[in-house]
């Protein structure tokens, strides 16, 4: 057939370079997140507010080998990043599907890897913003002092450990409708954060919740952060293994949901 002839394109460059596409996608995704108050308020303002309510009153009081202020800063840092990951992936994917944006993007030469990479970069960048805001508040208003290595450690583990929540958000984005995604994500996020000891430290929670906590992904993610300030109760290796397991499980769920949509709408 005419393939050889069709191969001789007018332009020597046949496809767009990947990195500028990725950068443009990440920038757009970030702007779309930053412009929606329903996203920015729960992710930036709520963690600071919770820290002010639960942590400030006795910020310098000793707690489990550290102080309440340090412990809560690590806890609400984890809560903030989980919220960013769940909502940034979950709500945007559900909205794109509901508003049929997916069809437009799929028919363009946008590469799937640039799409996913752009969303991931925007999520991490936004998570970084929420952490900077929270830590600045904790240090500036609460007078919480950490060593430089501990500050960097918190940024590091919270940003690197977020993958299972990205995968979970993605799965919900493909399972939920455009209107129900936010409600479903809240129903996952708030009980999980509470049950994992992110709002109130685990020893203060009912016995039953303490029994369940070690099976929740946010518990192990919290342990990563608490270990940075030497207040964790689980080894970092164990937490990483649990989080890797959850990542695989949520990723499989997300791929299944994606595949279901794929076979319904695009095959």
């Amino acid at each position: 057939m005419g393939a050889s002839k069709a191969d001789s394109a007018h332009s020597p460059i046949r496809v767009a370079p990947f990195l500028p596409m990725l950068a443009a996608q990440a920038k757009s995704e970030f702007l779309m997140l930053a412009r929606v108050p329903a996203f920015t308020i729960p992710t930036i303002v709520f963690p600071i507010m919770f820290f002010a309510l639960f942590g400030l009153p006795n910020v310098h009081e000793g707690f489990g080998g550290t102080t309440v202020g340090k412990y809560m800063l690590a806890s609400f840092g984890a809560y903030a990043v989980i919220s960013v990951a769940l909502f940034s992936f979950g709500v945007t994917v559900a909205a794109e599907r509901a508003r049929k944006m997916t069809a437009l993007m799929r028919s363009s030469p946008l590469r799937p890897l640039a799409y996913l990479g752009g969303k991931t970069i925007a999520t991490l960048a936004f998570a970084l913003v929420t952490l900077i805001a929270l830590f600045a508040f904790g240090a500036g208003v609460g007078g919480v002092r950490l060593e430089t290595g501990q500050w960097l450690g918190l940024f590091g583990v919270l940003l690197l450990g977020v993958f299972p929540f990205i995968a979970l958000g993605f799965a919900v984005g493909y399972l939920a409708g455009g209107n129900s995604a936010v409600a479903i994500l809240n129903l996952i996020n708030l009980p999980m954060a509470f049950g994992s000891g992110l709002f109130l430290p685990l020893p203060m929670l009912p016995h039953l919740v303490q029994q369940i906590a070690p099976y929740l992904p946010a518990y192990h993610y919290g342990q990563l952060a608490w270990n940075v300030i030497a207040a964790g109760s689980e080894s970092t290796l164990s937490a990483v293994v649990w989080l890797a397991g959850y990542s695989v499980a949520f990723l499989l769920l997300a791929l299944r949901a994606y595949g279901r949509e794929q076979s319904k709408e695009y095959s």
């Binding site: 057939m1 005419g2 393939a3 050889s4 002839k5 069709a6 191969d7 394109a9 007018h10 332009s11 460059i13 046949r14 496809v15 767009a16 370079p17 500028p20 596409m21 950068a23 443009a24 996608q25 757009s28 702007l31 779309m32 412009r35 929606v36 794109e96 508003r99 049929k100 944006m101 069809a103 437009l104 799929r106 028919s107 363009s108 030469p109 946008l110 590469r111 695009y266 095959s267």
Partner: protein, 298 residues
């Protein structure tokens, strides 16, 4: 013959459950052609386009773009697509959305050129959700044009636009075509197909009925529908030798599709048929198509 087929669809069948949405379509579009897929709603036009651009996969048969699979990024990088039903990222501005889509293509037009092309200079900094329906439609066209495409797919591009906006849109498409580009569009407006296309492919029930020039399709669609109630019993044989394309008898009600309504009525009156409730109307597209198929089969 020497031209490369940019779109090549062969024996494509697409089945959705019990429905054969596309039922054996073969279609080849060459460089520089403007092809309109014309047919009533639900005829299978949009499914045809979805198969051509790789949003759907054929149940059987094959579709290629520039010799590639339609979902191949090398094919998509040379195409612009305007879909009938698709959303836009509402919280980006017009300009940001255009810049995003420009990043998908190897040799995009400038953002200024796109904004000027679609006449949204005033709205370039406005977020997409503040645009009117017509402005959004122009933005969709702009996004399809971002990559300076060799081949443009337009699925029902002017649905919901008023007459003035529709004609404005046609001007854009004609300017695009003058630069030697290829267009495949779907429409259920014969007027639109006639205004833009140099080849009209009439599709109904998932099949290609006619693949012809606008002149041929238009003359067929100038057929009239003559209907009346006969005052005495009538059979098909009564119409032998009269200029009748299709005849439908429903009790005493007679319905005739004809290209020569005057000659037909004159003949009926001359032989003394008495008619009541006489109506003469333009044939619908479906009726015109039926007439065309009747002609092509005979």
């Amino acid at each position: 013959m020497g031209m490369a087929a940019v779109v090549d669809v062969r024996d494509v069948v697409k089945v959705f459950g019990p429905v054969r949405a596309v039922d054996g379509v073969s279609l080849s579009v060459n460089t520089g052609e403007v092809v309109a897929l014309l047919g009533p709603n639900g005829a299978g036009k949009t499914t045809c386009v979805s198969l051509m651009i790789g949003l759907r996969k054929p149940t059987s048969g094959s579709a290629t773009l520039f010799g590639f699979s339609p979902s191949d990024v090398r094919a998509r990088s040379r195409c612009g697509v305007m879909l009938q039903e698709s959303g836009l990222p509402s919280f980006l501005t017009v300009r940001e959305t255009i810049d995003l889509f420009r990043s998908y293509y190897p040799a995009p037009l400038t953002a200024d050129a796109i904004v000027a092309l679609i006449g949204l200079e005033e709205k370039a900094r406005a977020q997409v959700h503040t645009l009117s329906g017509g402005q959004q439609q122009r933005l969709y066209f702009g996004l399809a044009m971002c990559g300076d495409p060799e081949l443009l797919f337009l699925d029902e591009p002017t649905v919901g636009l008023d007459v003035e906006a529709r004609r404005g849109f046609w001007t854009h498409v004609k300017a695009f075509v003058r630069s030697g580009r290829t267009v495949v569009l779907t429409t259920h407006y014969l007027e639109e197909a006639d205004a833009l296309a140099d080849r009209i492919v009439v599709i109904d029930r998932g099949r290609i009925l006619i693949d012809a020039s606008p002149a041929v399709v238009k003359s067929a669609s100038q057929a009239k529908r003559v209907s009346y109630t006969a005052t005495k019993p009538t059979t098909e044989s009564d119409f032998a030798g009269l200029p009748v394309q299709t005849l439908t008898l429903d009790g005493a009600r007679v319905e005739i599709i004809t290209a020569q309504p005057e000659a037909l009525l004159q003949a009926l009156f001359q032989r003394g048929d008495s008619l009541t409730d006489l109506e003469v109307a333009g044939a619908t597209l479906e009726q015109a198509v039926m007439q065309l198929t009747a002609r092509s089969e005979s």
